[in-house]
Subunit: 411 residues, 2 copies
């Protein structure tokens, strides 16, 4: 009973999935936990930066008009009437021939309109300082609002919060930061050949690696993984397990069981649920049997049991849904061009996504496959930081040709 399936393109598959995307909610977290999260509202400046006219140097705040004749030969003597560090405010007004010793970052006192640097002065006795240089109005003053004007959007929502953005959040008083709630993604493994990670090997069986890989991919993509363990071999039990899992998650991933093999349960489960199967065959390698279904608006991702196909299926179809849920402005993998450092001589009847490793070498982006490209080789996944995308319908690629890569890290 080999079922006939209708293969569609990768693009079309992504489009069909994205029809059922959801948007998550905002939650507020402490600024100390904000790094790496997605900013859910624009950051708005609650004040000018600087908030006041500020000294960029250590020196003396004076009236520039008092220096109109100052020179090395003709120093002008000022009386030092105050001494303020950053954070302090001079309470008086600076008058003619008066100087306030001022530190970097401190507010310019009223009456003063310039700061003369320490090295352009000479300290005399009796709280007096000699100025040997002409100064201009507003010289050496960081003006209020010079960096940032109040009410400006400083950082637009949808960005991944990094340490620099954290600094801005702190500057503008965001003790609690609006971030996107992470979606919860369920993971269920199928396959009677699977042992759990802590089981001893048995004849004919392998340990379940896909589920843990998925959990890590889900976390890397900025979502929360919920692992439900392995499915029963029994259709009835399976159906119950899946039904229950769906109520606890935003999206559900199953691994394995989507082929047309005699022991593949997923097609029957979808049938039982009367789920809307968006596609069950894609013109791509690996992962051609990747299946996505929708039930009452909830996406059920049926990824292949083959580790490479499973990995690719996640990044191509699940990640964009996560990105949308958290409101990232980059949806799906970031793409770039790279120079192939090995040839791929075979023609590509289908879109191929080859696990690759790119390096920045001498100002150029170079990419090579990460390990032999055998779809059952978990091994080559460890070094992968991108996919090499060879579009379907193309001939082989030579070494040195430019290809598209899809970046795997979220930065």
């Amino acid at each position: 009973m080999v079922e006939k399936r209708n293969p569609i393109t990768v693009e079309d598959a992504i489009k069909r999935v994205m029809k059922y995307r959801k948007t998550g909610e905002i939650e507020y977290i402490d600024i100390k936990q904000a790094n790496g999260r997605i900013l859910a509202s624009d950051i708005i400046a609650d004040h000018d930066v600087p908030a006041f006219n500020r000294s960029p140097y250590d020196g003396y705040a004076i009236k520039s008009s008092d220096t109109s004749n100052a020179s090395t030969d003709n120093p002008v003597v000022f009386r030092v009437v105050g001494h303020i560090g950053a954070g302090s405010v001079f309470q008086d007004t600076v008058k003619e021939k008066e100087a306030v010793r001022i530190m970097t970052g401190a507010a310019i006192p009223d009456g003063a309109d310039t700061v003369i640097m320490l090295e352009d002065t000479e300290t005399l006795d009796n709280d007096q300082v000699a100025v040997k240089k002409q100064m201009e109005n507003l010289q050496n003053i960081s003006l209020a609002g010079e960096d940032v004007k109040k009410n400006t959007v400083i950082v637009p929502k949808g960005k991944i919060i990094n340490p620099g953005i954290v600094a801005l959040l702190a500057t503008f008083g965001y003790k609690n930061v609006p971030v996107s709630k992470k979606p919860v993604i369920g993971v269920i493994a199928t396959g009677s050949e699977l042992l759990e990670v802590d089981e001893e090997l048995q004849d004919g069986k392998i340990r379940n690696s896909n589920s843990y890989m998925m959990i890590a991919q889900i976390e890397r993509a900025g979502a929360i993984a919920k692992y439900f363990g392995q499915f029963s071999d029994q259709l009835d039990t399976c159906i119950e397990q899946m039904k229950s899992a769906m109520t606890e998650v935003d999206f559900l991933i199953t691994t394995g069981g989507v082929s047309v093999g005699d022991f593949d349960l997923l097609p029957d489960i979808y049938k039982h649920f009367q789920a809307n199967v968006l596609f069950n065959k894609i013109r791509m390698r690996p992962g051609s049997v990747t299946t996505v279904a929708e039930l009452d608006g909830q996406l059920l991702f049926g990824l292949s049991g083959n580790p490479s196909a499973c990995y690719v299926g996640f990044e191509l179809f699940v990640k964009p849904v996560i990105d949308t849920f958290v409101g990232r402005n980059q949806v799906g993998m970031k793409k770039a061009k790279a120079t192939l450092s090995v040839p791929f001589t075979k023609a590509n009847p289908f879109d191929r996504f080859i696990r690759g490793h790119y390096e920045l070498t001498g100002g150029k982006v170079e990419v090579s496959p990460s390990g032999k490209d055998k779809s059952n080789m978990v091994h080559s996944l460890a070094e992968a930081n991108c996919f090499i995308h060879l579009p379907g319908g193309t001939n082989g690629y030579n070494k040195g040709e430019t290809v598209e890569i899809c970046l795997l890290e979220n930065v």
Copy 2:
């Protein structure tokens, strides 16, 4: 009392800091939490992969010698004696003209030495199948150990664990994963101009942004931040606060107070502790007053209160110590070459580290400064994903010239 300081090079400064590096311990965590941590022991294969001779296809396991005369015109008829899915084992031995229906991933039964694909057969009545093709010994069989041999080092320690590595950990039975313990890094802010993040603005004051930025940088670098709040203005209280903080952390960062300004307390604190000041002046911009001291082998990082200088100081001097603590094989920022997309016309008497944003554009690495390069502009930090490093003693750089960049993300 402007103190005379001896400037040293960035390289020399890093060397002096690294003399007091420490190595952390190993801890074991659940594989579900392993993503992003540093692998602390080599991953060793506890079995061959495949662990047994395995079928890469859906088909029939047979003896190749039975097909020596098979062709489309002369099909050879086999009796189907079993049917095994992945994870099942055929308990008998395959004899002449016997076939076992086999699924992808299942173990090759004893007696069989090849798998004929479904499409090269024809199913007849009475549990019989016709084979129309000659097969060779071991054709279509994934041999035990073909991917990975038992006892091979699969992934060397020191790597950041990614989803592919998690898959390998699961395959080889690592339910508990050896990872490097994260160092604890204390953060203390100094500066009487500083308000806390949730305080209303006051005349002459700014909110403390450096501490939160540091916390985010510490987390990005893979360590744990412990924030001790702001220092008192009083030397005595300061000394007590710092002494107590040192007992709770592996490394301690203070921000601000390291200049030669009249209100800068750190030099006096180092003196009080009789700490070994490794340097207090570096031939670099920003961050020339960055100070690092050592007390009984513990590093005290005195970063500048200027946000950009603080940021740069952390990445240059604190990050390598974290990388070493966790045993990463990449110590310090990863470097690369990039093409400048704007000119830097001024000469560089000192090493400059300009916050930059690099992009992969048409197969090339292009970099530009992220925002105007004013050292008091927090703003430009938000977009930075690298530093543009202009070495001291160089003239200006033109647009299109190649420069070194230091990458800020740990991937």
